[in-house]
């Protein structure tokens, strides 16, 4: 029975030459992804920024992609690792299609596969530096799950990655309810994305909203949110605070 892990079989794995092959930190990153379940399926939102540290290097990165017939994957974190994951999933879906047996991998299966991939990479101390959101519908069953770079995974009615966990989840906990209409779902996601835009340094005002239902996946054209900066408190912010500037 194959129970060996790699650190036993490969003594090189913890010394300097092999170290240059392991991920230490991310380079080009995407920020939050938010997903919610709604009446007909899943709605997901992500902006299109790819940051290189504090520089906003890429402004048209599609961080949500359809997977097979029944799933939608959104990713935050290292963009190149996301592209690697898409490559693995291409192969997974290809083999699934090659069976040609009328069956196809649903969102639960894809989520399980991704969990295993992320966990295994973590075990080898060479993680894929992403937080993934996987949503989909199959046979009327809606599914929304998430996996982190160390393999922590769960499913829920609403999920978010990165800053979305801090800023969007509380809004969703308060305002999400069963059977949201499409319009209400989009409004809710836009509300969360607007808060993220105001408060997340790496957010950009160019986003896409993706929808997956039994019929299939639709990813909107990129658009921007209206923002409001005319708060009176911003006009003379130090009024009333002696000695402040």
């Amino acid at each position: 029975m194959q129970l060996m892990d790699s650190s036993h079989s490969n003594p090189m794995s913890l010394c300097s030459q092999a170290d240059s092959q392991r991920t230490l930190y991310p380079y080009v990153t995407g920020t939050s992804v938010i997903g919610v379940k709604y009446k007909d399926g899943i709605l997901m939102a992500a902006d299109m920024g790819g940051s290189y540290g504090s520089t906003l290097r890429y402004k048209s990165v599609e961080r949500m992609k359809p997977i097979g017939k029944h799933s939608l994957l959104g990713a935050s974190g290292e963009i190149s690792d996301f592209q690697e994951i898409l490559h693995y999933l291409d192969e997974l879906i290809l083999y699934d299609n090659m069976w040609d047996d009328g069956n196809s991998l649903g969102p639960k299966e894809v989520h399980s596969y991704l969990t295993r991939v992320m966990y295994n990479r973590r075990n080898k101390f060479n993680p894929l530096w992403n937080s993934l959101v996987l949503g989909g519908v199959k046979n009327g069953q809606k599914y929304l799950g998430t996996v982190s770079m160390i393999g922590v995974h769960f499913e829920d009615n609403h999920v978010a990655t990165g800053f979305g966990n801090h800023l969007a989840r509380p809004i969703l906990r308060d305002e999400w309810h069963e059977d949201l209409s499409f319009e209400d779902g989009v409004k809710l996601l836009e509300k969360c994305m607007r808060v993220l835009l105001y408060r997340d340094r790496s957010a950009v005002n160019k986003l896409q909203i993706a929808k997956i239902t039994e019929e299939g996946v639709t990813i909107s054209q990129p658009y921007s949110l209206k923002t409001f900066w005319g708060f009176s408190a911003f006009q003379n912010p130090t009024v009333g605070a002696e000695g402040s500037w």
Binding site: L24, Y25, N123, G151, H153, N157, N165, R169
Partner: protein, 242 residues
């Protein structure tokens, strides 16, 4: 120029507590349903309890990815055992397997704090308690996880077990009845919830609202599994949400 160190940890603590109590002909295993990371709540509806065999249930808290991997591993080994022996694994057998599985990763441990509960071959309740690398012991009751320091003394007091240092070893299985043990578990979690921020469940609602389904009252819960001669039963209880 010093070599760059990795700035990520392969471990995380996703919190929570578990408890198990063995009785003369039953076993109660319970855990909260909150999954957290640092000061954030990831989800309020996550089961830490896994049925490994007909008469053997495991509750684990700690690092969720490792807990899940461990559950999958044991479930797979159990399936093979069934194929090879044409019967279910007994609880003591699964206890040994869990210990060996944990020790196998002694130098990159499963960050999983486990409590195994079930019925032995005579139908008597048994509870096994573990550390992350596989040290284990058969006991009458145990708790693991973030609230265990609060829960364990309370159980020691209420279950008045004989000293584990006595020789010959006295059986610590409680004489309490099954409903009494279930009630004790609910009380124990209600107390732990007051003081441990990582163990949580929702405020109990008054009876007028109890007709509404639990889906509407989205909140952390306490999941209780009871194993006895008639089979397995699952109960939920709402505790504090904050």
């Amino acid at each position: 120029m010093t070599k760059q160190q990795a700035n990520w940890s392969p471990y995380d603590n996703n919190g929570g507590s578990c408890v198990a109590i063995a009785g003369a002909d039953y076993c109660v295993i319970a855990a909260d349903t909150r999954m957290s990371t640092g000061y954030n709540i990831l989800t309020r509806d996550y089961s830490k309890i896994c049925k490994l065999a007909d008469k053997c249930v495991m509750a684990s808290s700690g690092f969720q990815a490792d807990v899940r991997a461990l559950q999958k591993h044991l479930a797979a080994r159990h399936l093979i055992y069934q194929h090879q022996h044409n019967k279910q694994m007994s609880c003591p057998a699964m206890a040994q397997l869990l210990s060996n599985t944990l020790y196998y990763k002694r130098f990159f441990p499963y960050y999983s704090f486990n409590v195994l509960g079930g019925l032995d071959n005579e139908g008597k309740g048994c509870v096994f308690t573990y550390d992350a690398v596989g040290s284990y012991e058969k006991v009458g009751y145990s708790s693991q996880g973030s609230g265990s320091t609060l829960i364990m003394p309370f159980l020691d007091n209420q279950l008045k077990s004989p000293s584990p240092l006595l020789l010959p070893a006295l059986d610590a299985v409680t004489p309490l009845s099954e409903p009494e043990a279930v009630d004790l578990v609910k009380t124990v979690f209600a107390s732990a919830t007051e003081r441990d921020i990582y163990t949580h469940t929702v405020h109990p609602f008054n009876t007028a609202l109890s007709n509404f389904s639990l889906d509407v009252l989205q909140g952390d819960k306490l999941e209780i599994v009871i194993l006895n001669a008639s089979g397995i039963r699952r109960e939920y209880m709402d505790l504090r949400k904050d």
